[in-house]
Point group: C2
Chain length 414, copies 2
């Protein structure tokens, strides 16, 4: 069954708000075996909205719409959805009660403008919004489904989980499409392509897609089959053929996999706790660890030592090293890693110091130069990297490189 996702909002077309909702909904629908075929973003404009509804009605089985359900004058979705399906708006006291409750739950006083949110297309089904005031709108006609939801991510997610997913499951029919993603570190896309010289065999079982990322590549397998079981078996066969060629570069599996999650699993299996001392990445590596639920099992503490004083006082990096070699140096990054180990209860430590940019570079130490240190009870080591990105990507790639160093070192212990 074909799914289409439409986001309504000038703010997205102006680039002021990222349309992260589309990706979230796509993941949710893909997991349920649906096939997302089209995503679009259109302006808060009557003609554009009605035109998009028309196209979606003809080409898609399920159309998921976000945005334009708020209480202000640029919110057109509800009125136009009612018009498109020729449903009059009626005032529903049960919905007004829910809106009032939503205000109460958030300890806010009711605003009169919000009364309008109780106007609802007759014959449509309201979907409860536990995180906000505007309910979702479910309209079904001639086997086509339209669902309108607010653009605030957590409100959309609540409505999807509690209202939309259970309902679309009942509609599911036809072939099953399943995907599986393998995450590889330390290979370029073209290298991976070359190493997988058994592609023809793999393609007997699954479609293959190569997704390059920052310092990593993902391989996506897709199977269309008559049943979930059959699709799963084909995926297993394809995966085994891939493992034969590139198993040592595979670090994880699954749609929601993050590198930090893989690191966490590895550390937990070895009963190791991690600490991190960060200069240019400024707590980002720690944040990615703490993003993972249950990270207290393997992430112990973090030091954000952006200044030399902090490096000296928090980690015990000697002033002589800082003065002689500079904060961005092999000597200092190793002292940072060793210091983090000493000043924590962790068994392994990562340290990052570099020149992220846009300023601060010199001829000898240009923007993008990053040192990454690793220490455990046995040894200390480091790598030097020269990235050519911007402030954000240089820091991102530093973190990826640090996680990779950690994985290599921990795996090398056997």
């Amino acid at each position: 069954m074909k799914v289409e996702i439409i986001a309504i909002g000038d703010e997205i077309l102006l680039g002021q708000v990222d349309n992260s909702n589309a990706g979230w909904m796509a993941r949710a629908m893909t997991r349920e075996g649906f096939n997302v075929q089209h995503m679009s973003v259109i302006p808060d404009d009557r003609e554009a909205i009605l035109g998009a509804f028309q196209k979606a009605y003809h080409r898609s089985d399920i159309t998921l719409i976000t945005g334009g359900l708020g209480p202000t004058h640029d919110d057109l979705t509800k009125a136009l959805l009612a018009k498109f399906f020729n449903l009059p708006l009626v005032f529903r006291t049960d919905l007004l009660e829910q809106v009032r409750e939503a205000y109460k739950r958030q300890q806010l006083s009711f605003v009169e403008t919000s009364r309008e949110q109780a106007d609802f297309p007759e014959g449509a089904t309201p979907l409860r919004n536990v995180h906000g005031t505007a309910p979702g709108i479910w309209v079904e006609r001639e086997g086509r489904v339209f669902v309108a939801m607010p653009g605030v991510p957590i409100e959309m997610q609540g409505i999807m989980q509690q209202g939309v997913i259970p309902r679309v499951r009942k509609l599911r029919s036809g072939k099953v499409v399943l995907t599986r993603t393998l995450h590889l570190l330390g290979l370029l896309e073209a290298e991976l392509y070359e190493k997988l010289d058994n592609r023809d065999d793999i393609l007997q079982h699954a479609k293959l897609a190569f997704l390059p990322g920052v310092g990593s590549v993902r391989l996506r397998l897709t199977v269309e089959a008559a049943s979930f079981e059959e699709a799963g078996m084909e995926l297993d066969k394809a995966e085994r053929l891939i493992q034969e060629k590139v198993n040592r570069w595979i670090v994880g599996k699954g749609d929601d996999f993050t590198l930090a999650e893989g690191v966490g699993k590895l550390l937990k299996s070895r009963h190791l706790m991690l600490t991190a001392a960060e200069s240019c990445t400024g707590g980002w590596l720690a944040k990615l660890c703490v993003d993972v639920p249950g990270s207290s099992d393997w992430f112990e503490r973090g030091f954000v030592t952006y200044t030399n004083e902090a490096k000296h006082e928090m980690l015990g990096v000697p002033w002589e090293l800082l003065e002689k070699h500079g904060a961005v140096s092999a000597e200092v990054v190793q002292a940072m890693a060793e210091g983090a180990l000493k000043k924590s209860r962790a068994q392994v430590a990562l340290a990052i110091t570099g020149i992220a940019g846009p300023t601060g570079g010199t001829d000898v130490k240009p923007v993008g130069l990053v040192y990454i240190g690793y220490a455990d009870q046995e040894k200390t080591t480091f790598i030097k990297q020269q990235f050519d990105g911007n402030r954000k990507t240089n820091r991102q790639r530093s973190i990826t490189a640090a996680f990779k160093l950690l994985i290599d070192q921990v795996l090398a212990e056997g």
Copy 2:
């Protein structure tokens, strides 16, 4: 002039890669006075791609395409663009040289598969890709422009900045559309709407849009005028009318504005340095500060104290407090803020401790309970918040609340 943005890639439709490129390109084109009217994501499929090219050719002046330019079999963009415009692919030795150079720059050995990247549509203009191997493709016909770029963000950004923006500037014609965004903290969308009871006056000068966020609202003003000067004057008039009503809630202005940036400006103007002690946010607040170039002027150091041991050892939080009140308590968050102040060289400190979820909640201390502490040389204070989101949004809103507490406290000093 109308701009359309197309992303090609199954990985986006599956939700495995977020289409952050679209937002970046939209911001870049909006700043140049262009009007982005449509964004879409389509699969790696011949018919879908040609169909999208056809629609874009008819409705848009400039079409920006990302994705599908890599060296593997699912990369169709170049071949289909050549077919659409009826241009034969020719092998260009100058482009092969550039591809070889790109490999050398990244200290990689040349992969034979990459030879294909030197095949190029005859009559199209290659746009240099300084961060990767595949050049961008610029095709102009009958006043329509198509540009194809790789999907890797930094590669696309480099091609946009150096190749696309200078070229589209020369094409610019017709009316100028300018926007301005005001950032407000501490007001709900509906409250803001009510307070702005001079909307009719404002609308004489600019279109208004309300963009609700996590703990904040943005107001976007849009003006269409004959010249940049005129548009700027109209924006100024509209902004003054808004200031009359809600000036005290406005914390910043501009498209790229982040709350951390506003905090940084405020601290720098007062010659204050900030330190942060983070439990559930795990370094995220520090990371957002260090995201801002030049943050070493106002962000001093950060403590990621996820465990009780770390809170005690790094910040000096007494064991008695941790045992008697628990790590998530008013007493502990204040001790964390005071400890961070004492163990750093900063003049103001923020501390965050809470139960982010999904597990770890109890009846007395449910998931979403967060304490936020503030300390300076004069005083210590805290706020208690009960959020109803998920692990990510609870932590996000904690950080927003912490920044807001800091702004209030620093402003209160006068």
